[in-house]
């Protein structure tokens, strides 16, 4: 008992240390991924700043806007132009001198649909999606959640963060029971959601939606409200309304062309960005020249005479990098072929500071303002590398305790009768390994015997035996599939490829080990056999074979591990769904790292079982070897 403990204790301690080291190890392996997630702007969330509609229309002489903006930093606009009415801002509230003038500023459109305290679906008389909506003069908050699944004409199951609440699809309010049921936290439609034919411009309302705000546009004209408005309320769509827009920072003095947006970290590729000088929009998109850049051309003709010129996104300095005569721009350096000189209304000089350079300096009293623009907000994964590490959906290595907490569920996920039950897969792979070891052992022993008995054959074939191990067998699996299929073997369910590949990998160590063993008979014993006039066969079976046994068993231990690897490779490559190799492949593709590492542990346990199994056979067949 004490002895057993003494033997097991170091192993347990090392296992414990490895368990603890598993945490920094997991972090180390995930570090590059976490760092990329933290630093790569493509993986940041984005915020779009748009001109804001007023919160409340019930008091036409004063307008309030969302409380977290400083109205002094912007201006009122209407219909893409600064508002032409006089107003003052007092305590972050806009005040108009008289009611009559301010009411003129709003155009409201009424809805069709009875306001009876029950009805929640209203239809606008014109396209309204995206415009603000007012109930009794109060701005309603829009908001909806779409499922990650796309309708394909057959799918009925859609997952949401919660299944409570109101659902709508394609202009219709979905009724629980008649239109959908809730199963396992997902929405299950009675009829499949129809496929939206134009895949590129699929709007949200083509999918089932859950209302997370007060209303949602269920198609271009139909709005679905979360709560039915009480009788006597008025529901209005703002058609043309005063909004508050951000002003760009920078002095308007007729010479300054550099302005910056209020919020930093501009998304450079944003094509929806709208910047205005007074009522004139500046295009976010560039105008290419008439001529293509072919590596020799330096002069390019642009549609207009104005604009700033960028080359591959870099701003060029007028006078230094190019000269301009009318609409013709001559670059001082010949641009490379396929590079892109572009004329723009404005260019981004510093995306991090959201700084822009306009083509022409605005003159007072113009205002430069932003209709809408998008900036990078923050990393989606968190604010530190560690937070990003924890939030990785697919860790390269799992945290050690995951392996233990997830093992019971993983092992019992499928019933014993199913082919996907892990224990069943282990048994199947063990069977394949065994067959492969038998095949490789038979071939290996035969070759070794031939090599020892017919010496020239060894010289001729040994280089080929070594070369065979430098051939990546995995490369030949597709060919093996073809050939076996030609013999009428169904590769996905057959054990033959496992036997072939595992045997191929395991015959080598067995051949080498057994050949060495067959030669290791003591010269004295050989002399004795000769003095008995024993013939070649007798020497082989009575002396050489016994002398070779330790070597043969040692090489069978190596071969067993090789067979296991071969069996796993073959199951992976032939998609044999009954085996452990296929399960590993499945977990790799699904990215279930903890489950993958559980499978690793299982396969190394299987390897240990096989190696010690060979040792057990050795004890049974050649007990004299363990006497010493």
């Amino acid at each position: 008992m004490k002895r057993a403990f003494q033997n097991a204790f170091p192993l347990l301690v090392v296992l414990g240390v490895l368990f603890v080291l598993g945490y920094p190890f997991a972090f180390l392996l995930s570090y590059p991924l976490a760092k990329t997630n933290l630093e790569n702007r493509d993986r940041w969330s984005q915020t779009t700043f748009e001109a804001l509609p007023p919160l409340d229309l019930s008091q036409p002489a004063t307008l309030r806007f969302s409380g977290d903006v400083d109205l002094e930093q912007g201006l009122l606009i209407q219909d893409q132009a600064p508002l032409q009415l006089p107003y003052t801002i007092v305590d972050n509230v806009v005040q108009f001198p008289s009611v009559a003038e301010s009411t003129r500023a709003f155009t409201l459109v009424d809805f069709e649909g009875a306001i009876d305290g029950k009805n929640r679906v209203f239809r606008a008389t014109e396209k309204g999606a995206g415009r603000p909506l007012y109930l009794n003069g109060r701005l309603l908050v829009a908001g909806h959640e779409t499922p990650p699944e796309k309708p394909d004409g057959q799918r009925v199951r859609f997952s949401f963060s919660t299944t409570k609440g109101v659902f709508a699809m394609r202009g219709l309010l979905l009724t629980p029971g008649t239109d959908y049921t809730v199963e396992e936290g997902s929405l299950v439609l009675k009829e499949p959601a129809p496929l939206w034919l134009s895949l590129r411009t699929e709007p949200d309302w083509a999918r089932p939606m859950r209302l997370s705000g007060e209303y949602v546009w269920a198609d271009e004209r139909t709005v679905v409200l979360k709560r039915a408005p009480a009788p006597g309320s008025t529901l209005q769509l703002a058609h043309s309304i005063v909004r508050w827009a951000q002003r760009l920072r920078g002095t308007v003095d007729g010479t300054n062309r550099t302005f910056s947006l209020l919020h930093p970290k501009l998304v450079p590729s944003d094509t929806q960005r709208r910047v205005y000088v007074d009522g004139r929009p500046l295009s976010a998109q560039g105008r290419p020249p008439h001529e293509a850049s072919d590596g020799t051309r330096r002069a390019f003709t642009f549609p207009t005479a104005g604009g700033v010129i960028t080359l591959n996104g870099r701003l060029l300095q007028r006078g230094k990098d190019y000269t301009q005569k009318g609409a013709v721009v001559t670059l001082s350096k010949t641009p490379a072929a396929h590079s892109q000189p572009v004329q723009r209304d404005y260019a981004i000089v510093d995306a991090d500071q959201s700084r822009l350079v306009l083509a022409t300096a605005p003159v007072p009293p113009s205002v430069v303002w932003a209709g809408s623009y998008t900036v990078y907000d923050r990393p989606k994964c968190g604010n530190s590398v560690f937070a990003c590490f924890l939030s990785l959906p697919q860790h390269p290595a799992p945290l050690p305790h995951w392996v233990f907490t997830k093992a019971p569920a993983f092992l019992t996920r499928f019933p014993w009768a199913s082919d996907r039950n892990v224990l069943r897969q282990v048994v199947y792979t063990a069977r394949g390994t065994f067959v492969a070891l038998l095949a490789g052992g038979a071939v290996g022993l035969l070759l070794a015997a031939l090599f020892v008995l017919v010496r020239p054959l060894e010289r001729a074939l040994l280089p080929w035996v070594i070369a065979s191990q430098t051939v990546p067998i995995i490369a030949l699996v597709p060919m093996l599939v073809l050939i076996l299929a030609n013999f009428g073997i169904r590769i996905q369910t057959s054990i033959v490829p496992t036997a072939i590949i595992g045997g191929y990998l395991s015959f080598f160590p067995i051949t080498i080990g057994a050949a060495k063993g067959l030669r290791s008979a003591e010269p004295l014993a050989l002399d004795l056999m000769r003095s008995y006039a024993a013939h070649k066969g007798q020497v082989f079976f009575k002396l050489r074979l016994y002398a070779a046994l330790p070597f043969i068993f040692a090489s069978f231990k190596v071969g067993a591990a090789a067979s296991l690897v071969g069996a796993l490779i073959s199951e992976t490559e032939t998609s044999n769904a009954k085996g452990l190799g296929f399960a590993i492949l499945g977990q790799v593709q699904a990215g279930n790292v903890a489950d993958l590492w559980i499978l690793f542990f299982i396969s190394s346990l299987l390897g240990i079982v096989f190696v010690s199994g060979v040792g057990w056979v050795e004890k049974f067949l050649a007990p004299w070897m363990h006497k010493a």
Partner: protein, 380 residues
């Protein structure tokens, strides 16, 4: 008196095939097949000479029969290939071709057996006995491969011919060399060196701590059973799909054999030698440098040889499993096999084998240089 029975039977078989057999299946004999009739007299001549050679008991007669058999098989193959151009493109060979081809190869095999059993120890005999047969076996295997794939008209998308592979080796050598350089220098060597360095370090630590020896070694054995098919994608996710992840695979597969062997080499020391060192009153430092390290060297080199083979194959398999930029031998093999271009696959495999064998022999050479004192290198 017939000296060389194998060659004699082979020549008779070939004669039967050439004179009576049909050259393409359900077609005409050799002399009546338009495109191949030119081979009639040369083949008859070669067969007659082979018959003559099989009757003579001289080492030169054996060498002659060997050459005659190979040349004859070559001519027969060409005579069959020539029928491709005259409308027999997909018709397999008739029994006449098979008899002639197998018979002529038999002539060569018979002569080879005779050569390999030459008695006498003068220099020429030794060369003929020890070097010719091994080289010939390789050639014969290539002949059989070419003959079977050609004779059965096996399509290339099923199994390529030697001649197809050879053509690719010639025409695409620059690409394949670039692939090899990328695979070997960037991925294999960097991983191998790092794996061995860390393996030796870990081995030293484990060897001098009995506690770790009992606790760590069993785990090292278990770790080698973790399948590379599962591990490679994990490393690919951690280190990216470029060369770093494949080098990481190389580090892992070369680490464990080195650890195990170094520990074994440092600890399994003849007690007699230890006693001797004690009798010399050697300090522990002396025991370490004069006894333990030299004792561990052969074990280390053994591990280096094992690792050199598995590291190459593992990197190629890793390139399979972590599809990255389409360069490197593994990627080439994977892509060509998937598109049915097995000639490219085999050409790349040939490069891989060649590099593997060179690598192995280079380590073996180093071993010979550094451990020339060891008993396994002493002259018998």
């Amino acid at each position: 008196m017939i000296v060389n029975v194998g060659s004699f039977i082979g020549a008779l078989l070939a004669l039967l095939g050439v004179v009576l057999g049909t050259w393409v299946r359900s077609g005409l004999g050799l002399s009546a097949t338009d495109a191949a009739a030119w081979a009639w007299w040369p083949l008859l001549g070669l067969i007659a000479l082979s018959l003559l050679a099989s009757l003579l008991a001289s080492r030169w007669a054996y060498v002659g029969a060997l050459l005659l058999g190979l040349v004859g098989a070559w001519v027969a193959l060409f005579a069959f290939k020539a029928t491709l151009s005259v409308g027999f493109g997909s018709v397999p060979a008739g029994w006449g071709f098979w008899c002639a081809f197998v018979g002529l190869l038999l002539v060569a095999v018979g002569a080879m057996v005779k050569l390999s059993t030459l008695q006498g120890s003068d220099r020429l005999n030794r060369v003929l006995r020890d070097f010719i047969p091994p080289a010939m076996v390789s050639l014969l295997l290539l002949f059989v491969w070419e003959g079977v794939t050609e004779g059965l008209r096996i399509p290339m998308a099923f199994f390529p011919r030697v001649s197809d592979v050879y053509r690719v080796l010639l025409s695409a050598s620059s690409v394949l060399v670039a692939d090899t350089v990328r695979t070997v220098f960037k991925q294999v060597l960097s991983g191998y060196v790092l794996g061995i360095a860390s393996g030796v370090g870990m081995g030293l630590i484990v060897a001098f701590s009995p506690f770790l020896r009992r606790g760590f070694l069993p785990l090292a054995t278990a770790f080698s059973a973790i399948p590379i098919v599962g591990l490679a994608p994990v490393l690919g996710r951690a280190f990216g799909v470029d060369w770093q992840s494949k080098a990481a695979v190389a580090v892992i597969v070369s680490f464990f054999p080195v650890v195990i062997n170094v520990v074994q080499g440092l600890t399994t020391i003849d007690p007699l030698k230890l006693d001797l060192m004690r009798a010399y009153a050697a300090s522990p430092r002396h025991v370490l440098f004069k006894l333990r390290f030299p004792n561990a060297l052969p074990y280390l080199f053994n591990a280096l040889k094992i690792a050199s083979i598995i590291v190459l194959i593992s990197v190629i398999v890793a390139e399979f499993l972590i599809p990255g930029p389409p360069r490197g031998l593994g990627q080439r093999i994977s892509l060509s096999a998937r598109s049915g271009r097995y000639d490219i696959t085999f050409a790349a495999i040939a490069y891989a084998s060649l590099i593997g064998i060179l690598f192995y022999n280079f380590i073996a050479l180093l071993e010979r240089l550094f451990t020339s004192w060891h008993s396994s290198f002493r002259k018998k």
